[in-house]
Structure formats: structure tokens, C-alpha cells
Amino acid sequence: MLEIKNLHAHVGDDETEILRGVNLTVKPGEVHAIMGPNGSGKSTLSYILAGKDDYEVTEGDILFNGESMLEMEPDERAAAGLFLAFQYPIEIPGVATMTFLKTALNAQRKARGEGELSTPEFMKKVKEKAAELNITMDMLKRPLNVGFSGGEKKRSEILQMSLLEPKLCIMDETDSGLDIDALKIVADGVNRLRSPDRAMVVITHYQRLLDHIVPDVVHVLSRGRIVKTGGKELALELEKNGYADYVGQAA
């Protein structure tokens, strides 16, 4: 589903390479975790996958279902089925969360040549998914992410993900800012979305999220390269010994 080949990239005018040859293959149905210390390039990787401006690929390629995504706009990537759950979701003042959800869903449906969802159909869908994530209708009336608590922001991200039903979910530090109860709700939400034709990339510092979202493969990203790949037990090892063993290797 996702194939990253020898990806090199830098941010803006700063020529310093943040990604220095990342290789990664994710197949449908798989959940991959990418772990690594601060500054290893985890968030950069997620932004590059989503196509953020200013994040420049200098070498290598990103294939999504066999086709290069590098020339695609962020909204084209979204319509193709790529979703990024943000570490810091952005506030959109004056735009009710419900309005945002409907606009986004219909924009994607339209881009894919599907008809817009009728309001009753849409409402039924939202109510159902919102209930699973403990999101009240009241919260959906509030402007998107404005004044949301950390937990509300992350639950809202997962709600969007479950509504948009992407093929590839990238989650950037979805566990940050969550207490243990909220973490459980979010993880359950993510696990409900696991399916044989959907892939997930979970970016995190900590093992604790992976207790709830159990990955098939764990990668260690350090200084812009994947330096170690293993099974879920790798995460436990990292939790015990820290990243020190790997930071040196990437130099």
C-alpha cells in the first residue's frame, strides 16, 4: 500500500537533511509503529507523506498503491485515502466541528466522483461514530478545536478518521496529552478501524500507546533513518533500554 524508497528531505530554506534515506513498506492490514527520540524526523515524515508545503523531497519516492504521490496536492492525497491525525490539531474559529466534518467528507466524496451524502444520512453516521468516542453533540457544535481539551482534540481527530474511512492512517503522537482513560477511548477507536484492507502508521515516543494499539511491525527512526525493525517486542525493549543503543548507529 505504502512504499517509501530512499527518501531524503529537508524543511524550507534550511538545507540540512532531516530525512536521510528512509525506506519503509506497509502492506494492507498491517499496523506499523515508528518510534524514535525527539528530533529523529518522525513528524517530518508524517508531514511529507501528507504533502505539506515547505517540506521538500530531494531524493527518493513515495508510492501509494504503486503510484508516486510526490506531485499530488494534500487534498488529492486525502481523496486518494491518506489521513494524517495531527499531533497538534489546528483551530478553525467560527466553523462548527459538524460543519467541518460534513464539508470534508463531501469534498472527498466529490473528488472521488461520488455523490454528496444527504444530511440525514450524514447525521446518522456522525452520531453513531461520535457516540463510540464519547463525543457529545454539544462538542460537535463548537468551533473545530477551539477551546478543546487535549483529549477532545485527539478524539476529534479519530472521529474524522473514522468518518472519512481512509485506506492509510498516519497517526502522529496521538497519545500525547492524553490521560489513561482518554488513551483507552482513542485506542479503542483506532482498533475498530483496523481491517484487512486498511494500513496504519503509528508514530510515537512511548510504548504505552502500543499496549493498546498492538503493532505488527516496529521501526526505530533515528537521525533521519530507520535503524532497526522488529516485531512488537522491540517496543518493549526500547521502553526498557531507551534509544541510546540506536542513536549512535545512525551517525
Partner: protein
């Protein structure tokens, strides 16, 4: 926002100049000779069959105007207007007061059709419930052509007609109120208007009557080189209520067109007037050539106690906008409101705002202004809030927000406050923001295109004001804002 998708579709269907209403209807006009002098004023007055006092009123205004100079304090620049190169009166021919739509020039109806303004006749034919109807007093160039629903309004005792007709039918009412809010000598453009106004609307809602429908006028400037000088007068007698909608579009042309309207509102004891405007006049082409000059004087007088006047405006058009809908809070406990969205793109220049003059006790006012600048435009909010010595407990809340799109536009806020009463409380909040790259990226990551993302973020920015508009206007306004901002990103 359900309008967003529709907006985008519409934006895409618009040509380079982004102005779809640029067509000229060929209808023969009955014109006054070019230029301005006492003979032209006599011609206008005679054409309209006005009483003698009205002609005198006009002539007095004209003589006053000759001694005045154009104001230059606004933050706008434009070539000098040659007032003697303009025509001051033009009326579509074949329209000696039609009794029904059948008598109206078909080409005129077609124009409205293109603008998407059905004269609501279909509603009657289709048997739409009376409470859902909108009464339209259509102004084509200078003369009211069709007035619908007059009978129904008559039943309620509401007078809604052209000001020319009012001068003939209700001269005493007009004489009593005309110029009582905006005096003849008020300012350069208002004085010019007093001398040469061609037509406009007149509304009188009698004591205790709640006007049974929203009243609406669509303006359209058509005849080449014709200054438009609308005059509107709305009176709500004791305990009356009326909501008035004004919407405008104009055909595309090269020469600048001058528009200097005067609107006067009078609210007596316990009366309420709500005046809403959607303005979409030709803003000029992408190089800033052409476009309407809009110099308007709008003022409401809360003459009675507990009266209320509320202005809501969505301004997207015109090359130059000079406009300050104001409230004189004369009656005790009266209230004034001003809700504004001013969108400028291309080379548009807007200098707009409001004045809230607190004269009575316990008067309150609220100002919410949202300016959106894009392209190479300049957008200025200019406002005055003042409390007179006797305005005990005057209250004002002002919020001025500016949103910038792109690098070459400007937003300016010029608030004036004067308080001569120590119990007055005035609050002012102002913000300036830009649509951030992060907001754009977030929206695009969720599948919105750049245009859709801007439309969504902008609609969020103006929401407080859109909510004040009557429902059908709100949808139109959202579309208009998005259309006006087309091409402002990327």
C-alpha cells in the same frame, strides 16, 4: 456550511474577471441632458410630476452643493470626478407605470432572470404561503418598474412604494420626514443626492404594525454614464417593526460610475427597523480599471424611546466604497447595531464603518465589523462612538476584526471615541489575522481544495455577522464572499 460546495461550483463557473453580472441590457432610455444645472433639476422634477415645494427643496440643495467641496479625508484615491460629464436622469422607456408583469419590457425581466431575481410572481402562481413571500420593489436604473404585493401590504396599512409615487400620493408624510435625518446640507454627496435624486423606496409602517413580510429592493445600475442617486426613506411609527433588504448588482463597463445614495431611517417609540444590504457592484477589472464609485450616506434616527435600528451589510463590490451607516440614539433606552462584512480584492478600496451617536439615557450600541482584504486592496474601518453630556449610562461594544489574505493588501482600523458623560462605558476590541498555512494544510489534508479551504475559513471568520442576516440573504452573502475571493490564494 452547506453553501460551501455550491459556492465552489459557482466560483469555478466564473470567468477571469470574476464578475458574471457584467452585461448591458439594451433598453432605450429617456435621458436628461448631460451635466448638472438648475434646468436639469427642473427637468427631473417635472418628469416625476413633483409638487412645487420638492423642486424648491432640490434647487436649494443644488445651490448649497455648488458651495461645497469633495471630502478627502477617506483612505481612498481615485481620479477626479467630472460632475458635468455625467447624466443625472435616465428612465427606461415604455414604462408609464405598468399594472402587472405583463406590461414590463421582457428584456428587463430577462435581466432579472440572469441575476437570479425572480420577481416572486412564480411564488404567487405556485400558491406559496403569503408569509413566505418577499415583496420586491424593483429599481431599474432610476425608476421603479414593478411593485408587487402592494395590495397585501396595504391591508396591513404598510406603505411601500417608490419615493416618486410617495411624493404624489403621500406628500405630507414625505415632506415631514425627508431630510430630517440626513439634512440637505449634510455632506457633499448627500447634498448632491438631495438635488438630483431620481428614485428610491419609501416605506411607512403605521403605529403598532409589524410589517407582514420582509421588504426588498434590488438595485441595478444600467445606463452608461448615469450617476445613480437613490433616495430611500423608511419610517416605523410607534411600536412598528420592519425588515428591509437591499441587494445590488451592476453590469460591467469601462467608465467609472458614480453612485451617491441617501438612506434615512426613522424609528419612533418602541419601533424597530432592520436594514440589510448585500452589495455586489462591479469592482473593476483585474487591473483595477472601471468599477463603481459608491459614496453613500445612510443614517438611522432612533427618535423615540426604546426604539432600535440595526444595520447589517455585506459589501463585496465597488471600486471605491465610502459608507458609514450610522445611528443617532436620541430616544431614551434606544439601541443601535451595526454588523458589517467588507470584502476587498483586486484593486478595491473600502473606507467604511459606522457612527453611533448616543444622545439619550441608557442608550446602547453594538458594532461588529469584519474586514477581509485580498489581492492589492485596501480595507479601512472608520468608526465613531460618541456620548453626549446627557447620555447617562450609554453603552457601546465594538469589535473590529481584519483578515488578510496574501501579501499585498492592507487592513486599517480607525476608531474614534468621544465621551462627554462619565457614566458611559465604551469597549473596543480589534484583531488582525491571516489565514495561516497550518489552517490551509489542515483543511487540505481533510480533502478540501485551496478554494474550499479559504471559503470555509472565511465563512467561519464572518459567521457572527452572517447570523444577523435574514436567512435567504445569508446564503447569497456566503456565495458572494467566496466569489469575491476567488483567485486570492495560490
Amino acid at each position: 456550511m452547506p453553501a460551501v460546495q455550491e459556492t465552489i461550483d459557482r466560483v469555478r463557473s466564473i470567468d477571469v474577471d470574476q464578475y458574471k453580472y457584467g452585461f448591458v441590457t439594451e433598453i432605450e432610455s429617456d435621458k436628461a441632458p448631460k451635466g448638472l444645472n438648475e434646468d436639469v433639476i427642473r427637468f427631473i422634477s417635472e418628469k416625476k410630476g413633483e409638487p412645487e415645494w420638492m423642486l424648491e427643496w432640490r434647487l436649494e440643495a443644488y445651490r448649497r452643493w455648488l458651495t461645497m467641496t469633495e471630502p478627502t479625508w477617506a483612505r481612498v484615491s481615485y481620479p477626479k470626478i467630472e460632475f458635468n460629464e455625467l447624466y443625472y436622469y435616465s428612465a427606461p422607456k415604455n414604462t408609464p407605470g405598468p399594472k402587472s408583469l405583463d406590461e414590463v419590457d421582457p428584456e428587463l425581466l430577462e435581466t432579472y432572470e440572469k441575476l437570479g431575481i425572480p420577481l416572486r410572481e412564480q411564488e404567487i402562481l405556485a400558491g406559496v404561503a403569503p408569509e413566505n413571500r418577499v415583496a420586491v420593489d424593483a429599481v431599474f436604473d432610476s425608476v421603479s418598474v414593478v411593485t408587487t404585493f402592494k395590495e397585501e401590504l396595504k391591508k396591513a396599512g404598510v406603505i411601500f412604494c417608490s419615493i416618486s409615487e410617495a411624493l404624489r400620493e403621500y406628500p405630507d408624510l414625505v415632506r415631514k420626514y425627508l431630510g430630517s435625518v440626513v439634512p440637505v446640507s449634510d455632506n457633499f454627496y448627500a447634498t448632491l443626492n438631495s438635488a438630483v435624486f431620481s428614485d428610491g423606496s419609501f416605506v411607512y409602517v403605521p403605529e403598532g404594525v409589524r410589517c407582514p413580510m420582509e421588504l426588498s429592493t434590488y438595485f441595478r445600475i444600467n445606463e452608461q454614464n448615469t450617476g445613480q442617486f437613490e433616495r430611500t426613506l423608511i419610517i416605523a411609527d410607534k411600536g412598528a417593526y420592519v425588515s428591509y433588504l437591499e441587494g445590488c448588482t451592476a453590469p460591467q463597463r469601462d467608465e467609472n460610475q458614480l453612485h451617491a445614495a441617501v438612506v434615512e431611517l426613522i424609528a419612533h417609540d418602541d419601533a424597530e427597523i432592520k436594514y440589510s444590504t448585500v452589495q455586489n457592484w462591479y469592482p473593476g477589472d483585474k487591473n483595477g480599471k472601471g468599477g463603481i464609485y459608491n459614496f453613500v450616506t445612510k443614517r438611522g434616527d432612533c427618535r423615540g424611546k426604546n426604539s432600535k435600528i440595526s444595520w447589517t451589510q455585506v459589501e463585496t463590490g465597488s471600486a471605491i466604497t465610502w459608507k458609514y451607516p450610522s445611528c443617532i440614539l436620541r430616544g431614551d433606552n434606544s439601541r443601535g447595531e451595526f454588523y458589517s462584512i467588507a470584502v476587498s480584492n483586486g484593486h478595491q478600496q473600502i473606507d467604511s464603518g459606522t457612527k453611533m451617536i448616543h444622545l439619550g439615557k441608557n442608550t446602547s450600541s453594538r458594532i461588529i465589523s469584519k474586514g477581509i482584504s485580498a489581492g492589492k486592496s485596501e480595507n479601512t474601518y472608520r468608526g465613531l462612538v460618541s456620548a453626549h453630556r446627557k447620555a447617562t449610562n450609554a453603552r457601546n461594544f465594538t469589535q473590529c476584526d481584519s483578515l488578510l489574505i496574501g501579501q499585498d493588501c492592507g487592513a486599517h482600523t480607525v476608531p474614534y471615541m468621544e465621551s462627554k458623560n462619565s457614566t458611559a462605558v465604551f469597549e473596543h476590541e480589534a484583531t488582525t489575522s491571516k489565514i495561516s498555512d497550518d489552517q490551509m494544510f489542515y483543511c487540505q489534508q481533510r480533502g478540501l481544495s485551496e478554494e474550499e479551504a479559504v471559503a470555509l475559513i472565511v465563512n467561519g471568520f464572518v459567521k457572527d455577522v452572517i447570523q444577523q442576516l435574514p436567512m435567504e440573504f445569508a446564503v447569497e452573502a456566503q456565495k458572494l464572499i467566496s466569489i469575491s475571493l476567488e483567485g486570492s490564494v495560490g
